[in-house]
Amino acid sequence: MGKEIGMLVVSHVNDIANGLSKLLDQVAQDVTIKAIGGTEDGEVGTDYARIQEAMDSFEEDKVWAFYDLGSAKMNLEMAMESSDKEVRLFDTAFIESAYTAASLIQADVGEDAIVTQLDELKIKE
């Protein structure tokens, strides 16, 4: 556990989630980043159970969640309802906002300042 906030990135495709995680690792070596993509059997989709498990497995109390498309959001919201973690869900451009968040968490920029920057990347309802 390196930072106060951990990041959870959820995509419909496993390669996208893992690819994004790889990108984020470049700028955020000390931030815990967990990537969940696709369904259990490797198909395109999102899997509530794996999202829930990943969310609850953070050592950090605070988890910031980023997603690609709508059903990933619905599954994240379901997981949040039964999680003890303090989860914040971002309706922002997936790659850009996750990258911004990762680099700023790594740089110990204050939470509020990061959120303000992420607000500008809000593209989903």
Binding site: E40, V44, G45, G70, S71, M78
Partner: protein, 195 residues
């Protein structure tokens, strides 16, 4: 009051219907979405069948909860959390009521809470709302189910993946409304309302 045995029959018939109509649901979904609605629900139905067939239920709530939790995990697409939320919401309601209209209304609330859809946005909600209304009046028929389904054709999608298409979504039946219609047709066929 509803019996678990007839509800099991209902869910079994529903699984058969989505499986038989997998390609039709996929086609409706490729017209205005991503083309996997039939495949996703078929996968979910198989998982539900396995789960439910190996379990004995003493109460409605446990039965609905098993279905809901299986759907959210196994379906994959947006229909997973939506149908899953419906059944999980029905599971909660079943602790207080065994009236089908009350239960399905709770299911509808679960869907709307999860998907944030209102009437007229060309979603499964446009099938659920008239069906729940008809159930409350003891008046659910295949005609209510079919008429509500056909009405989604002229709607313009403003929620979900189909909303990306804007006006081009008009003229297509909503796939979620179609699979919901199968759910309610199965309800009539299973004789749940006669019990």
């Amino acid at each position: 009051m509803v019996e678990i045995e007839s509800l099991k029959k209902w869910i079994e018939l529903y699984g058969e219907k989505v499986t038989e109509n997998k390609e039709h649901l996929n086609q409706l979904d490729s017209d205005i979405g991503d083309g996997d609605h039939g495949s996703n629900l078929t996968r979910g139905a198989a998982a539900v069948k396995e789960k439910v067939s190996e379990s004995e239920y003493e109460n409605l709530s446990d039965f609905f909860k098993d279905i809901g939790m299986t759907l959210v995990s196994k379906v994959g697409g947006a229909s997973g959390p939506l149908y899953g939320s419906a059944f999980i919401s029905m599971a909660k309601q079943a602790k207080e009521s065994d009236d089908l209209a009350v239960l399905l209304e709770a299911g509808l609330d679960g869907i709307q809470k999860r998907g944030k859809a209102e009437a007229g946005e060309k979603t499964m909600v446009d099938e659920w709302i008239p069906v729940v209304e008809a159930l409350k009046e003891n008046n659910l028929t295949n005609k209510v189910i079919e008429d509500s389904l056909q009405k989604t054709k002229d709607m313009k999608a403003t929620k979900g993946r189909a909303s990306y298409l804007g006006d081009r979504s008009i003229g297509h039946i909503d796939p979620g409304a179609q699979s919901s219609a199968y759910l309610f047709e199965s309800l009539l066929e299973a004789g749940v309302l006669n019990g």
